[in-house]
Amino acid sequence: MPDISVNFCGVKSPNPFWLGSGPPANTAYQVMRAFDAGWGGAVWKTIGEPIMNVSSRYGSIDYKNERMIGLNNIELISDRPIETNFTEITEVKKKYPKNVVVASLMVESKQTTWHEIVKRTNDSGADLIELNFGCPHGMSERGMGAAVGQVPEYAGMITAWVKEVAKIPVIVKLTPNVTDIAHMAATVNAAGADAVSLINTINSLVGVDLDTWVPRPIVGGASSHGGYCGPAVKPIALNMVASVSHHPKVNIPISGIGGIGNWRDAVEFMLLGSTSVQVCTAAMHYGFRIVEDMAEGLNNYLAEKGMQSAMELVGKSVNKVKDWGDLNLNYKVIAKIDPEKCIGCNLCYIACEDGAHQCITAAPRPFGDLREGTPAKHMPQIKEDHCVGCNLCALVCPVPQCITMQEIDTGRPPMNWRQLQESRGKNPTCSMDELLAKGASTH
């Protein structure tokens, strides 16, 4: 049986699944319920000077029958006294010594204040510290959260202050609301951070009520921008994790966050370089029980792949993310429709016709109903010599595996754009196509 435990900055976690800092990890009661359900760790709801929250606090995006594919919140950090949180952390660690408890911290940007709270954390029994440099709303107006995380100098400075007194490893949680998150990761790495976690929520206005014209969530006739998370943000988070993994000056572990709801999502984050993953929205949506399948699914996946440990996954896909200029221009796929599977919806046709390259034909459908006999299945045809292999039809086709992209042998050796540029420089009189036909190996 594979080992799904992970080692994060020297801290062992029974599995890579941690609750992210947020409402599900607000109290000892919840965190203990989560550990009972099978979560490996929990990042406590950010601790700091207690705040006041508004109501309402959340807004969401639904898509067809799916609720909450994107969640937006205007909630602040913990509204409970600092001391209560630490007492509870101690209590939880006593009862669950094998599970990981991370204390998420945010205080005003003064060295003494940071020193004070970090020292208090050292004594609490927490395994790790996470610095919340990410909260994009409310706290940032008070010079905390994203206000720190968006300025590399501040982030580096506070990381250094924390490291002066911290006796346990320090994770810096990064905000996605920056131009280059990898640069931010490199900055805190240099300042002594032991790990980074990303992403925090993305600046958002989730929608506007069409009757009152007030954006959601509505607080007494007005709203405020909030932070976006949930399934909708996963691709953004994955890209950010990959870019941090790639950065030559980042050499510390990553805790991946953003839209994770099941083991598949978690594996993707791990493949792109995360050692642990954090989940907030999915736990808010469905409760702690989702972790059961996450653990079992990961276990089965590792077994199927013949892997011994979840740690083997970490970073496996990082080198497969390349610059566009390194992609082989001579690789070609075209769409193929499986006539057995096709149901004749014509969605591929109209997508290609209006939204891509006019490479599918479909005859007008004849009139007729079943009283006149069963009509023949009406199927579009791919114009194979025209198909540019963009994938659009395969993506819109509602039937799984009906349109597949099949590799075509172009007979040309691989050549990427960089190589093509070089080759152009050397052979200024040749056409692009001639150069591509020669491939990279010949010049």
Binding site: C342, G344, C345, L347, P366, D369
Partner: protein
């Protein structure tokens, strides 16, 4: 035959709140205890309501959104092509999804003014839903009928479908206020024609009001739907039997064109002894009773034999059962596979515990003054005839008797040949009006025709498609323009 006086109903255009159109009806059960050998036990009002409640209850908003989200929004969608009126199904379902329900209803009603009744009565499994691409994946097709109902129901009472243009000075008369004429009249109003519909019945709607099973469509809902047509300026003159109360000569003189949407007549006779006994009635008369009277006032025997194998026979057996008859037989000359009723209709009757007697023919009805029993003979299927259908032959000596109180004839409907032949130059084929398939023009160029009188008995949606086509044909004829066949292929 039943005393015709007892069938005379006095209408005041009022509804009794339960959907039937009775203003006043004799209590035939108390009035004539000796009219039937035995009447079915009466049910409680709640039980009648339950038995005749909507067979396809309406969707809630959340059901509609969930069901609508199953639609793939196919391009050049097969469901459109399988709807005789070519309703843009993916479009209206998408409009439900965006919360534009008025737009959804408009999409439907612009293609099919009877969208409300069609949503309830169309045999969707052989029309739009039968063509839905989800069937190819062995998935349940999108419930188009129910979504259509959801969209139309919500705005039907207030929607003004379009603002008719100024009168173009031409007048068209329509005979019959069934779906064919109502659809034709609506389309003609788009072009500014003055239209007047004449109908022999007290209420408009044709079989929509008087013929379609009550658990699919109540008469009150059928009439409600017609308000939508009236709001467009269509005049409907009820209680006018053309040929008697108004003459064809008058119509020809006063109108520029005439549309015939007269449907079909009563059911054919069995041609066996005993048909004149009390308690032997015609299916359409019986169904009409269920549509215009409170259910507890409908005369129904305790044991009922229904003759026929079509959808009408199914409507009759299910109605008889739901009215409380304890034994209902459906007797058909051929086998189940040969019956013309839709499979889902037969399944419905099976759920109602109807006793099917396949391959048997009625031979004579016995009784002193009123029906007491029905003698049948077993049949076998002979060789295929010219039409490819195997005709049944009686097996001599196989006679058997059923103890019944009522015999209801649900054979094919007769054609209104006599009336049609009174129109000069009209060409008929097997009693059906012969029309130009593109324009619905008859052999007499002033006359156009559509619906059951042309196709010999189809569905409501076919009659609506004909009406649209005929309107285009009339417009082309009178305005000298090419007919624009806006979305029909019936």
């Amino acid at each position: 035959m039943l005393d015709s006086r007892l069938f005379t109903l006095i209408f005041a255009g009022l509804f009794d709140g339960r959907g039937s159109v009775a203003f006043f009806a004799f209590d035939r059960l108390g009035d004539g205890p000796n009219m039937l050998k035995q009447v079915a036990p009466r049910l409680t009002p709640e039980q009648y309501e339950k038995n005749f409640s909507d067979i396809n209850p309406p969707l809630t908003q959340s059901q509609a959104l969930e069901e609508g989200s199953r639609c793939l929004f196919c391009y050049d969608a097969p469901c459109i092509k399988a709807c005789p009126t070519e309703i843009n199904v993916p479009q209206f379902i998408r409009q439900i999804g965006t919360g534009n329900v008025t737009g959804a209803a408009t999409t439907i009603l612009n293609a099919n003014i009877m969208g409300h009744s069609c949503a309830r009565v169309c045999p969707t499994s052989v029309l739009c839903e039968g063509a839905c691409v989800l069937n190819y994946e062995n998935k349940r097709p999108v419930d188009i009928g129910k979504l259509q109902r959801y969209a139309v129901d919500s705005v039907m009472d207030t929607l003004k479908l379009f603002e008719p243009p100024a009168d173009n000075g031409k007048k068209v008369a329509l005979i019959g206020a069934g779906p064919a004429s109502l659809s034709c009249a609506t389309e003609l109003r788009r072009h500014g024609y003055q239209v007047t519909i004449f109908d022999a019945n007290p209420l408009p709607g044709g079989l929509d009001t008087y013929g379609i099973a009550a658990y699919k469509l109540r008469a009150s809902d059928a009439v409600r739907e017609i308000e939508l047509v009236r709001r467009l300026g269509v005049e409907i003159k009820s209680n006018v039997l053309v040929g008697k109360d108004a003459t064809l000569v008058e119509l020809e003189k006063n109108y520029d064109a005439i549309f015939i949407g007269i449907g079909l007549g009563g059911t054919d006779d069995l041609g066996i002894p005993g048909e004149d006994l009390e308690g032997c009635i015609d299916a359409l008369t019986f169904i009409r009773e269920t549509k215009e009277n409170p259910f507890d006032k409908v005369l129904i025997g305790n044991k009922v034999a229904v003759i026929g194998g079509g959808n009408t026979a199914i409507d009759v057996v299910t109605a008889a059962h739901r009215l409380g008859a304890e034994e209902v037989y459906m007797i058909y000359r051929r086998g189940e596979a040969e019956a013309s009723a839709f499979k889902y209709e037969i399944e419905l009757a099976k759920k109602d515990e109807i006793s099917f007697i396949w391959q048997a023919a009625p031979a004579k009805i016995l009784g002193r003054g009123k029906v007491e029993s029905l003698e049948c003979v077993k049949t076998m299927l002979g060789p295929a005839d010219a039409s490819g259908r195997r005709s049944p032959q009686n097996i001599s000596g196989s006679e058997f008797r059923l103890d019944v109180d009522m015999v209801i004839k649900a054979l094919g409907q007769s054609k209104k040949t006599e009336f049609l032949q009174s129109i000069s130059g009209m060409k008929l084929e097997k009693g059906r009006v012969v029309v130009n398939a593109e324009t619905c023009q008859t052999a007499n160029p002033k006359y156009f025709a559509g619906g059951d009188c042309v196709n010999g008995g189809g569905e409501v949606v076919d009659a609506v498609a004909h009406g649209k086509k005929a309107a285009a044909g009339i417009h082309a004829h009178l305005a000298g323009k090419a007919a624009n066949m806006r979305g029909t292929h019936a």
